[in-house]
């Protein structure tokens, strides 16, 4: 039977068919749906781990114990998991272990554009790259076989276009793979230097064997056509090449690391002009050039962003290039279509926090989540955003550089899930190293940005089972923060008062702003309306950046009733009592 699946759904299916027993992840676009879908299969245990490092550690534990394990994350998540990853390459596994790295060329939803094929080479593990959903499923299964055959973790690298595109997939049954025997083997699994040194030799020997394997595996295949143009490519770019250069000869690399030297040389000899077409970094190109093979690549194609089909046809098949038939419209596009950046949802609890921080004119070190959108106009309330968990550490550093007085005008903001991910360690640092920073944990009771996944503060697992709920206040107190307060962010004056008090305090404080994400709040309340007579046009309410509030031609505001969820925040900030619940007096 054929089914239309996204790449992510197909990877989950592949894991199931491969007899996987444990799936772990921390959610992150474009990887999230892998584990979400894996959790639907009763045969597989699945979890949202607190962060990617823990996800990999749980996965490797399962593998060492003899079961097959799938660990998924987005590209920047691998940075977090890199520590166990490199050593895992030394120990090897027992049951198969596959690490999915979902990269995001074009940064549709990421803070950087890193090319994680480099991780495969740096950690010395094989990397497979599927080009559509069918391959995503098949390569997942193959990766497990490879993992066990070579006693190594295997990286399955996807990109957004593979992860989030749907294509037809032929389904198969699950093959139950018996859990392998576990035997204590300290020389293999205890990486003290004396044990690790011989393991490094094993790693290098394994790389040799994998290189030999790369020469003959079906993962790498030549599609002979016109030999005057030869193209080496992988992943989604293969599809683009097939589309725009159907006459070209292609070497499709399903295994991106290690590369098949002989196969590449043979291909290079038989074609007249050789191109490497790859997204992001010259990963193949550098290696191929190092072997002394002449090839064109990044001199022709960009080092950044998605590599789109039209870019390939523009360079290599200009005659086929479709010219835009709406030239005037294209000009219209640049001049007359304002951008539409994402915004905090109507009723979002973060809006109140950033409105207040903006009003107080404090420096805000930010973090990764929906609340990152607080950096945009009109809230303009975030100074820095680096990576998951960086906000508190950044605030400590700013204070250490500029002094305690500066900390009186500065807060760190971090979400509930992100705090669990990697906010607790810098908070410990703040206490231990006597910083006086104020941390706001924006607790909206869910991991919202990636699509509402549970986390340790929600009280539910990925399979929806109730579990212990972490109490953030108690947790902060336990690491030594004496000043911990919880507030409903929509109680604006109380929120402002508490922030002022905690900023003034010369010791670390944590303020938990708690209110559910607007998208999980059940049942919307009636929308608010604006009284024409009472509205003075002061536009104070518009500083909230609620997309429902619109300035009219007469300079007064109105509220779009179709979008408004009736949160009432705008009524709270209106000094003239002009915003009211529909059909009634003010709340």
């Amino acid at each position: 039977m054929k089914k239309l699946l996204t790449g992510n759904e197909a990877i989950a299916r592949g894991a199931w068919e491969a007899g996987v027993v444990v799936c772990t992840a921390y959610p992150g676009t474009p990887s999230t749906e892998i584990t979400e879908n894996a959790a639907k299969y009763p045969e597989m245990y699945a979890e949202w781990s607190p962060n990617e490092k823990v996800a990999l550690e749980v996965g490797l534990g399962a593998a060492i114990a003899g079961g097959r394990a799938l660990v998924s994350m987005k590209h920047v998540g691998v940075n977090v998991a890199a520590d166990p990853l490199f050593t895992l390459a030394y120990t090897g596994i027992n049951g198969g272990l596959v690490l999915v790295s979902a990269d995001d060329p074009g940064m549709h939803s990421s803070q950087d554009e890193q090319d994680n094929r480099h991780y495969g080479r740096a950690a010395k593990i094989p990397v497979l790259e599927p080009a559509d959903s069918q391959e995503a499923k098949e390569f997942t299964k193959l990766a497990f076989d490879l993992s066990e055959a070579f006693d190594t973790p295997v990286m399955l690298r996807t990109t957004t276009r593979v992860a989030h595109s749907q294509s037809l997939v032929e389904l198969a049954d699950r093959k139950e793979v018996p859990i392998k025997e576990y035997e204590k083997n300290t020389a293999k699994f205890v990486m003290i230097p004396a044990n690790a040194r011989p393991r490094h030799l094993i790693v290098e020997d394994r790389m040799q064997k994998l290189s030999t394997y790369a020469e003959t595996t079906e993962l790498n295949r030549i599609e002979w056509n016109d030999p005057s143009i030869g193209i080496i490519t992988s992943g989604i770019t293969y599809q683009y090449v097939k589309e725009v250069l159907p006459q070209a000869s292609i070497l499709k690399l399903g295994m991106s690391f290690p590369l098949p030297k002989n196969l590449i040389s043979e291909f290079a000899q038989k074609v007249t002009t050789l191109y490497v077409i790859e997204e992001l970094d010259p990963f193949f190109e550098d290696q191929i050039k190092a072997w002394g093979i002449a090839v064109q690549g990044k001199d022709t194609f960009p080092l950044f962003g998605e590599l789109l089909p039209e870019m390939i046809s523009a360079k290599l098949a200009p005659s086929d290039q479709q010219t835009c038939c709406h030239a005037t419209a294209c000009e219209l596009k640049t001049e007359d279509t304002p951008p539409r950046p994402p915004v905090l949802c109507p009723g979002c609890p973060h809006r109140a926090v950033f409105y207040t921080l903006n009003k107080l004119k404090v420096t805000v070190t930010g973090d990764i989540g929906c609340y990152t959108l607080g950096c945009l106009a009109p809230l303009n309330a975030i100074d820095t955003t680096i990576c998951m968990g960086a906000s508190i550490g950044t605030a400590i550093g700013m204070e250490k550089a500029r002094g305690k007085d500066y900390a009186r005008k500065m807060v760190a903001v971090i979400g509930d899930s992100t705090f669990i991910h990697s906010g607790i360690t810098p908070l410990i640092d703040a206490v231990y190293n006597k910083a006086t920073t104020t941390t706001l944990i924006l607790d909206n009771r869910i991991t919202a940005m990636t699509g509402h996944q549970h986390n340790p503060v929600t009280g539910f697992t990925i399979k929806g089972e109730p579990t212990k709920e972490i109490d953030l206040a108690v947790l902060a107190q336990a690491v030594g923060v004496d000043r911990v307060r919880t507030v409903d962010p929509f109680a604006l004056s109380e929120l402002e008062q508490i922030i002022r008090e905690e900023l003034a305090a010369e010791e670390p404080s944590v303020i938990i702003t708690r209110r559910s994400c607007a998208l999980i709040e059940k049942g919307t309340k009636p929308p608010y309306t604006v009284s024409e007579e009472a509205c003075t046009g002061c536009l104070q309410c518009m500083r909230l950046g609620c997309p429902c509030i619109v300035k009219q031609d007469n300079k007064k505001v109105s509220i779009n009733p179709a979008q408004c969820v009736g949160c009432g925040l705008c009524a709270t900030v209106c000094k003239f009592d002009a915003i009211r619940k529909e059909g009634g007096a003010n709340a």
Binding site: S109, H164, Q322, H326, R340, L344, C370
Partner: protein, 193 residues
């Protein structure tokens, strides 16, 4: 070029463009064609500009559509119609939901909403069809069914079996919303004279 149909569905995060693309892909699959769909998730869903791309035919390689190659653009919002217009091919059809949703730069006054978006598009494209999707959805019984009204309209422009559309909608939407959605689909279908 191989014989492929390229459809771009554009709108604003939260309008239901993804569901629409999934129904279309389901219909095409039932009819035995190869199909690929590309969607973007994440940040864009928070009220940002969203595009999903559906390509079908005998054999599909790339899941995305190049500028100037879309046979049909189905636009859930006027400004988005304008934004993606350069993707339409010569003589392609652009189907527009006559709805205005202001992006934040317009709300804050940093940019202006184009006053004559539809007129500008009509000047470029002879095959422009405008529909009051929201009005039709409300008539059908639920303002949220705009996406299915638009699917009905799209269905009218594609040479695919109508019953298959109804079957896929039946498989996709929850039972209690089925009546409204079937009505919404018919409204879209019948909006073409």
């Amino acid at each position: 070029m191989r014989n492929l149909t390229n459809i771009l569905i554009v709108g604003v995060g939260g309008q239901g463009t993804i569901l629409a693309s999934r129904v279309l892909a389901g219909v095409v699959q039932k009819i035995g064609q190869d199909v690929k769909v590309s969607e973007i998730h994440g940040m864009a869903q928070r009220g940002g500009s969203v595009v999903t791309q559906v390509r079908y035919g005998e054999k599909v390689y790339a899941p995305i559509i190049a500028p100037g190659e879309a046979d049909i653009i189905l636009a859930f919002e006027k400004l988005e119609a304008l934004r993606w217009l350069s993707y339409l091919k010569k003589d392609g059809n652009i189907l527009i939901n006559d709805q205005r949703l202001d992006p934040m730069p317009v709300v804050t006054g940093a940019a202006a909403y184009p006053q004559d978006a539809i007129a500008a598009i009509k000047k470029q494209c002879a095959n422009t069809m405008v529909i009051d999707g929201l009005g039709e959805a409300v008539k059908a019984g639920n303002a949220k069914a705009v996406n299915v009204v638009l699917l009905g309209l799209l269905a009218r422009y594609l040479d695919l079996d109508k019953q298959t559309w109804l079957d896929v909608i039946r498989d996709t939407v929850p039972d209690k919303l089925l009546d409204v959605n079937l009505k919404a689909f018919e409204a879209g279908w019948n909006s073409v004279k």
